[in-house]
């Protein structure tokens, strides 16, 4: 995992910290793999979030100390975790009843592409040689009350990830509420991508040039 400070915009840790600032106290939250996992390190003072991992644990704690982890206490990314005081274990149908039944307040996911109508693609690049693997992503976006995406604004080759229409297979249509990138915070609205906040030192034009659909400035 890279942690160096980028030339412009937020680092991965700063992106995770920025998301954490917007999560209300007491929220039940599911975090995807990658940058979302870093959010646990940046819980603002005075707030408590309860983390759900869909393989069957509510009240997930941080990774265990080296050498004391248990192979049967893991998260959805199959990494060893801990259970905090007040945690509970449950079977898969109950775990997805929490998701499908609208009991979770928020999930924060990574993205391959997000369209200006809120369509999300984050599970497959759809190539002929790709092994399709969806896990719980489609259940999460269909069932959780709010869906945040945290992602680099562009791909490693500089292509925009925020675009008019996804070219990769969808995880869900019209499911994203808000996007946090290294460059900006952007809401999905009926009119498309609405800028909410620019990262320090980043101009509107810089973000708009790197966004593959119209970006509505702050009025």
């Amino acid at each position: 995992m890279k942690s160096e400070k980028p030339v412009m915009g937020l680092s991965r840790d700063e992106m995770a910290q920025r998301v954490a600032m917007d999560i209300p106290n007491g929220s039940y939250v599911n975090l995807g793999i990658g940058i979302p996992e870093r959010i646990t390190r940046f819980v603002p003072d005075g707030r408590e979030f309860i983390y759900h991992t869909e393989n069957g644990l509510l009240g997930m704690g941080p990774s265990p100390e080296e050498g004391v982890g248990e192979p049967e206490l893991i998260n959805a990314g199959k990494r060893q975790v801990t259970a905090l005081a007040g945690a509970s274990y449950f079977q898969h149908p109950d775990s997805f009843a929490m998701i499908r039944g609208g009991h979770l307040d928020l999930c924060v996911l990574g993205a391959l592409q997000v369209a200006s109508n809120g369509d999300l693609a984050n599970w497959s690049v759809g190539g002929p040689d790709a092994i399709p693997a969806v896990g719980g992503a489609m259940d999460l976006v269909a069932g959780v009350k709010s869906v945040f995406v945290v992602t680099q604004h562009c791909t490693k080759t500089g292509e925009p990830k925020l675009i008019e229409a996804c070219t990769y297979p969808l995880t869900g249509p019209g499911v994203v509420n808000r996007i946090y990138t290294d460059l900006a915070v952007i809401d999905i609205t009926a009119d498309g991508f609405q800028l909410v906040e620019l990262s320090p030192g980043v101009s509107f034009e810089y973000v708009a040039e790197r966004t593959g659909a119209p970006l509505i400035p702050i009025s």
């Binding site: 991992t53 869909e54 393989n55 069957g56 644990l57 248990e70 192979p71 049967e72 206490l73 893991i74 199959k78 259970a83 274990y89 449950f90 079977q91 898969h92 149908p93 775990s95 997805f96 998701i99 499908r100 040689d129 092994i131 399709p132 693997a133 969806v134 896990g135 719980g136 992503a137 489609m138 259940d139 269909a142 069932g143 297979p169 969808l170 995880t171 869900g172 249509p173 019209g174």
Partner: protein, 236 residues
């Protein structure tokens, strides 16, 4: 007194037949009944349809069963994992069929199958390529797809403790798919870490009531997939 304990993993899986549908518990290595799977490899049944969230790792447990050519179809949500090479190679060569099911839909299909619910509607996968071929229905203004319950000829699961009636408790996140699979298997076979006397498990905390269990075999100190893979173990 009823006693569902059998003497060995070999006895427990002896009647699994060619072409059977077999549910295998576990999410990654947590809850994977490795010793029962190895007994199934030794037993020789083939052309199996296997239901599991993943496809195993390394060349032990479920991955070893697939590597041995015994599985013609996988029903799962995430057939890629760290150290998972057996399934991807066979899938790319067309030697194994895949039915990809979103994880929550998979869990609920198994639960429904075990609960006598033939099908249900869910919003999961609406508007995606996984909706293709499924019936869509609008209920109270929201779109849903029809998903069918899943049943199995056999379910292989792992528990932490059992009593002779087959009442089960699990270990932490190893519980995952075991309770619904115990319900959905015509014959449910359990490997348990410890057999305790009837009455020792508090009826208030039993997770799987024994009515869903047919056979229990004691496997003390079961192997962990990640440890075997790290040691380079292959099976057989």
């Amino acid at each position: 007194m009823i006693n569902k304990e059998v003497s060995s993993t070999a006895v427990a899986v002896a009647d699994i037949f060619d072409g059977a549908t077999v549910m295998v518990g576990g999410f990654g290595e947590a809850g994977s009944p490795i010793e029962l799977i190895h007994a199934l490899i030794d037993q020789g049944a083939t052309n199996l349809t296997v239901v599991n969230n993943n496809t195993g790792s390394g060349e032990v447990g479920l991955a070893a069963l697939i590597k041995a050519g015994r599985v013609s179809k996988m029903i799962c949500s995430y057939p890629r994992s760290m150290n998972s090479t057996v399934f991807p190679e066979l899938y790319r060569s067309g030697a194994i069929e895949l039915e990809l099911v979103p994880q929550g839909t998979l869990a609920e299909r198994i639960r429904a199958g075990g609960a006598g619910i033939p099908a249900f509607y869910t919003a999961t996968c609406v508007g995606t390529i996984l909706e293709e071929g499924k019936e869509r229905r609008t209920i109270d203004g929201q779109d849903y797809v029809l998903e069918y319950g899943l049943k199995a000829d056999f379910s292989l699961i792992k528990s932490f403790k059992s009593d002779p009636y087959g009442n089960l408790i699990y270990n932490k996140t190893a519980r995952n798919f075991a309770p619904p699979m115990a319900m959905a298997g015509a014959i449910t076979i359990v490997q348990t870490g410890e057999m305790v006397a009837a009455g020792e498990l508090d009826p208030e905390v039993i997770v799987t009531p024994g009515i869903f269990v047919n056979r229990v075999v004691v496997v003390p100190n079961p192997a962990h997939e990640s440890v075997l893979v790290a040691e380079g173990v292959t099976y057989p």
